[in-house]
Symmetry: none
Subunit: 251 residues, 2 copies
DNA sequence: AAATATCATGCAATATCGTGCAGCATGTGA
DNA sequence: TCACATGCTGCACGATATTGCATGATATTT
């Protein structure tokens, strides 16, 4: 077995399972634990995963959240991401926000899809590295570490110079009265800027976002065209949004 | 058996199986491993596949950078990164290139260090997420997937608008006659642009880079101020560079 | 605190690598 | 035909990589 291949296996497994246990893997491959541990150490050295006692976890905080927080919402987000990915058509220019759902969305985009993705999230860029068909344009700016996206005047200036067909927006609050909200002023400003440049804006709303309100208002429902929510969302929360003219797509 | 025919076989098998083990193939064809290895080396030289210990893998795998990193070199790079990290002073504005060594450098920067890092590499951004003291500015542009950095007119425009104190440059070739070279035209242009904006430029050169030449010229030795190399680099390779006035820092 | 599990490191055995060299076939020009 | 060049192949050999084991250190659990 080629060591590179083994490392690829480890990363694959990590992506799928969300964790790696050194002992299990050594048995599965018929190699000593030392070898696996060595691999994990090296991969951790490259920043490709995070070493923990007994095995390894994904490196990026976004992904770590995905794997550790094994709540319902993870499945929700996976479903939403799949539905959203299906909306992207050949040749389109799509803007992907930062956030766990949009990263998943990036990952599940068809690898051969010919399209252009614009993003201000380094994580989305990384997720799209193995999508040969997808052209990626990165928006620069000041990195807001809490969300790992670029924000600020530079980002907004760069955004104002592009046009996109479709914008997948992530938010932390979706509320009938308060509209779409997020936890950071800068991020809200960036989202507004993208909205202005997008022919169509779709909000990705996993279950816990519905009915929630965060500190900073992004836009009202007038400025967005659709909302993708989990199949399991209660109708009670959705009908008032429908009444506001929102097109609701259920996974 | 014609060598071209054999190479075609190798590429075929690679496409079908996803990997090639030199030993197996030599037995299957009744040829020595040397011959197969020679073929693989040449195909790798043309970029048609990726050489790894024991055989070969497809060229396009995102893991490519993983495998080019042999173990020794990993240690080399770790040492170089540590030395470079020590050069960064409080309050400085530092530009970090893309590349494995600079990512390591980012990781080993003191977490509490108050400084600003400018980069066009999403991976560097990710590496700096848990450095609360470090402000990160991201340069946007078109993502060149092979290296996972942003390049192109947008990137160069953004770079021209900043000044940095110190630029850590990564290259793929460091050669007495041919100067500093890299494998992509766009990347070379970006590196040149950063050089222009930097008060001081330092090249990070792990062992295998010394004496190597790549396709695209970046700058000559006049435009860089220092070179950090592994302790284990032979003096034979270093003295000619010293004669050119390079300041060489050995790890 | 004791028991257990996991870890990092050094070391030795083995496998693989790259290079130089020689043998062999084929091609070429005189 | 002969002498020579060229290209391909296998072998030898020193260099490098990989792996498992031993060992003492560290972490986790009871």
């Amino acid at each position: 077995m080629l060591t590179t291949e083994r490392k690829a296996l480890l990363l694959d497994a990590l992506g799928k399972e969300g964790r790696i246990v050194a002992k299990e893997f050594s048995q599965k491959l018929g190699l000593s634990e030392d070898t696996i541990r060595r691999d994990l150490r090296e991969l951790a050295g490259e920043g490709l995963l995070q070493r923990v006692h007994g095995g390894a976890l994904p490196a990026s905080k976004a992904l770590k959240d995905l794997s550790t927080r094994r709540n319902v919402s993870v499945n929700d987000k996976a479903e939403i991401a799949k539905v959203a990915a299906g909306m992207v058509k050949e040749g389109q220019i799509v803007f992907l926000d930062g956030g766990t759902t949009t990263i998943r969305l990036a990952r599940v985009l068809p690898k051969a899809l010919k399209a252009t993705v614009v993003t201000h999230s380094p994580d989305v860029v990384t997720a799209l590295l193995d999508h040969p068909g997808v052209d990626v344009e990165l928006i620069g700016g000041h990195i807001y570490k809490h969300s790992n996206v670029s924000v600020g005047a530079v980002a907004i200036e760069a955004i104002s110079q592009i046009r996109v067909d479709l914008y997948f927006m992530g938010v932390t609050g979706i509320h009938v009265e308060h509209g779409l909200t997020t936890g950071d002023r800068e991020e809200a400003a960036v989202k507004r800027a993208i909205c202005r440049q997008a022919a169509e804006t779709v909000v990705l709303g996993s279950r816990e976002k519905l009915g929630a309100v965060s500190a900073y208002s992004v836009v009202g429902f007038d400025d967005v065209d659709g909302l993708i929510v989990s199949r399991k969302c209660s109708e009670d929360l959705l009908t008032p949004l429908r009444d506001l003219g929102m097109q609701i797509i259920s996974s």
